[in-house]
Point group: D2
Chain length 337, copies 4
């Protein structure tokens, strides 16, 4: 049994972790912490039958856990990660604090990084790509919800040099849970329902440098994106429509082949056959990422469509997938493939 703790357990990613833990055959809950709900049963926070009692973060017995999940905001996670590591537990951080390897880039998009020395130790937790390093990592930086789909789609192409050297357009659409549980005018039901809107388009959203960091690493040269996030009137799911140009020698079949080769043995990557396009329904409530491609109707241009559940493969599901890797468990334990 792996003993798990969660700091910041009452946000949406914490609730998803708890649901997964209750389905996981090899997990024992060491603690769940919450600043606002300390002392309450989990069933008082969300409509569920979970009777675990929340503790305050200060009272969380870090050393009773083999691994601690940080579901805390960026900025708050970094010092907590340090405490977790000092207590001898491994750490999976679901915030942005350790995703950017370059402290200067982190500083440009967030604020001065408080613990830059930990940045170099952190492993980017995109399981399919960094599995070997994750297996032995002390500190895993779980990817943002938007990056995972485009990165899985583009990795097999970029590392084979398939794409022209120009900006890639990612037109992404996310469900509302991606904005977190905190009430605000922008997450009010009446604001979102029957509506659809873009926000932070261009080169503004904070997942932009994370995507560019990874794509550049896969390509071995700087890759720049145009990133247009949109808000869907659904609770869960991200669908990304990606516009690419390939170098000569690539066509639709070769793109699909590259994916099938790369992901043949991956339980959570679902490469759709030619003629099928990924939808949210392919992946919501599962830990899957679906990949699909179509011709753009112009020589050498293609449209890639990826889908995943932002709270599962885009957050808590991938975090548990990483935990399974870190502790030598079957990778699908607790997760829906």
């Amino acid at each position: 049994m792996v003993k798990v703790g969660v700091l910041g357990a009452t946000g949406y990613t914490g609730f998803e972790l708890l649901k997964i833990f209750h389905q996981h055959p090899e997990v024992e809950i060491a603690f769940l912490s919450s600043e606002s709900y300390a002392g309450q049963r989990y069933a008082q926070v969300y409509p569920c039958p979970y009777e675990e009692v929340l503790v305050s973060p200060d009272e969380a017995p870090l050393d009773a856990a083999d691994v601690v999940f940080l579901c805390t905001p960026h900025g708050a996670s970094a010092p907590l990660a340090q405490r977790v590591l000092e207590a001898g537990a491994r750490c999976i951080d679901l915030s942005a604090d350790f995703r950017l390897r370059d402290a200067a880039v982190y500083g440009a998009w967030y604020h001065t990084h408080p613990l830059p020395h930990l940045l170099s130790e952190a492993i980017y937790g995109l399981t399919e790509i960094y599995r070997a390093q994750i297996a032995t990592a002390r500190l895993v930086a779980n990817p943002g919800c938007y990056p995972t789909g485009p990165l899985l789609a583009l990795w097999p192409l970029l590392r084979q040099g398939a794409l022209m050297d120009e900006r890639i357009i990612i037109d992404a659409k996310s469900g509302v849970s991606g904005a977190g549980a905190k009430p605000s005018p922008t997450t009010h039901f009446v604001t979102v329902h029957d509506n659809f809107s873009a926000y932070n388009v261009g080169h503004v959203h904070r997942h932009t440098p994370e995507i560019e960091q990874e794509l550049s690493a896969y390509a071995g040269r700087p890759v720049r994106i145009v990133f247009s996030p949109h808000l869907l009137p659904v609770s869960r799911g991200i669908l990304s429509t990606i516009y690419i140009r390939t170098v000569p020698g690539w066509d639709l079949e070769r793109i699909l082949d590259a994916w099938q080769t790369a992901y043949a043995h991956e339980p959570f990557v679902n490469v759709l056959p030619q003629g099928s396009l990924a939808t949210l329904a392919h992946t919501v409530n599962t830990n899957r990422c679906a990949l699909s491609a179509a011709s753009a109707g112009v020589e050498g241009e293609y449209i890639l469509i990826t889908s995943l559940d932002n709270l599962l493969k885009g957050a808590s599901g991938q975090a548990v997938q990483n935990m399974n890797v870190m502790f030598g468990l079957p990778e699908t334990h607790g997760l829906i493939a």
Copy 2:
């Protein structure tokens, strides 16, 4: 032209009023006030092209208006109503402050009424029932969103003594805009979407005494209800399923006849033929109230189903309908019948 002012113009009922005013051929906007958005254009508050600039409540030129709509919370409305009347304007209050004729009842459900002398002057603004008094009223208490449907359904029956002397069950289901624009965990998209829940069931919700006051007045004896509000995952609309027992001599045809007779010339009451049941789609985005009835399958028991748009016939639409009556305008001006 009727010169209109709105205090508290940036809630949902204020936004609906503004949309109606822009379609109304005989309305001129004197002012729109807002504490939070004073100095901003309306288009900065909601996604719309309205360029009116909001003023702070203190600077609202009450005497420049023929009628002032109060879209302010209960408690806040009463003193504002007094100021409006003193400034020489007529007043339509969309809050609960003047709906209960008995200050003691108001006190039991809310708090001590600050201006009980105004209670006796206020006319309950259910247009179809109180039209004559509304026409000459200085102060109209616009009905709550839940009461209007059940009251229109039960008025023709109770005043003819059609119902057994026992509690009436009203199982009501409302869209989220009824909870107002203020963000809270209960109006967060992720809480409401794909969900359905009851709240304040039994004899708890504050619209209960308002409904009982009116039903008792129509029946000429005390009438008691069981009232179960539910929250629907839609933005607009209230559907009420009402369980009644009739005295001998009444059947489904007679119920429908009573409605048709009562509402034959009413542009906003839509009595559905036998076999049809009211749905939200019959009324949402209009000022209509739809009435329908069916047998409960038990001798003398019937199910009445009413539907309306909580922001229109249940609030701002009925408020403008009342304004039209008060100023001798065609009752459908600015409204969808």
Copy 3:
């Protein structure tokens, strides 16, 4: 391993069964049949990664299965059940064909029963109530989606004589998947979305005699209901608001106690504490049924609110729960408690 077959596997209940089977550690799929999709992979029918190939019903190897699930329409199920039993497999029928013990009642609500002799053998598959008989049954009649919640709420009360001898009102609200996968004007997105409607109210819906049969059996006297189904703009979930009158000596605490006693060891019945009301969010995507109660504000009157996922505890989840009982497996295998 239990070898399972599904006849009619491409409706919503079939898809749910398949999803459960893929999470179930002791199930092996013998066959999935479909008239319309025979020869296709399941992934061509619904957005999922399941590669099982559908066979035509005539080619389904009934004798290769330990148990066959019938996801076929009423009328079609009865003769298929006979064939399954003759082939030596046990049978769980998700249609209405074996739910009514009295062939005359079946005849009055459906049509002449084709195989009345099998009616007496069939066990009504409400697991918590008929577990012992289900364990040894050859033929299980899985309950309708609407009955399960009200039956679980009323069983502990009726068998203790808690309720007055009068009709019980069940105001029920269901998601759209309850209407099946067949396209029709009433299930068109534009018809349902932002809408809410009642249908078959009173004593008309075909789940009425099923509920009355069971309630009467629990009470030991005829129990009659008024049943008002409504259609919610959600895909999944049923919430029932039930209006009851108790005999003297019962109050809210005693109702909750009766439930807690009855269901203390039930993994799938979630009795909520006083002050909490069941919502769809308590149960959707799980095999749980949530029970809650409140005072109606009138002496001796109470409001019971139950919630479940119509495709899981209301159909396929309960069917697998029954299978687990029939084959001596842990009852939660493959299911979310």
Copy 4:
């Protein structure tokens, strides 16, 4: 009063027309026809109080109308348009039959055009661009729902030579009513709700040649697009995210200036200020088209976002706007600006 007739009045565009007619001060309904519902009152087709009786198409008194709206499918509209014109009425066709000026292009995307001689007479009914020709037209080809937004956004730019000579990417997202009222698996509530999907991406959707025809006309050179339609889980509204590259000398301010100049006096075009992005909520249930722009974060690249209600400015609203122009009425009559 303008006497109006509608052929094919029971689809979604017909229902919208009827709702507009009931708000329009200068319209008299000559007839509404339907093959499937002839002889029924309109209130039997959709939840509404409209008592007009539908006639069969053959019995529609074409010569009693000043203008006939064709809400019939492509292929069916062309011969009906001819009959309408022969009867002496003017014709507004909401199908695709007269939108493509080149019969060969029509043939390539649909089938051989049955009445190519009428193609040259038809005026493309994008009111803001072709108002003068529409005023005197006998036959107006009302634009498709997808084209209107991108065309209004790109017209002021292309005619001023603002864009690089390369394909323009239009990532469009539409509500379900755009797929029509006919039930199918793809419009089933359970398929669409909580889902989001792309379809006919690249150079496949039939609105592609219509958009390219118009853009090429505005630019004076062939313009090619990549067009990716998506299906939103909402009933109404289209939001298009358009990726463009400008020639030197253009920036965000100049784009917004070009729009403001072009549409300064247009009641139905809402140019949003810099920093605001168009959402569905800006336009749904109105006849407005909202235009907005942002930097793509790359020198010379911009993101244009347009929004409209596919059934109003994208279909029936624009059709009535055209009718108002054709009959010299105020352009906003019956419509929400």
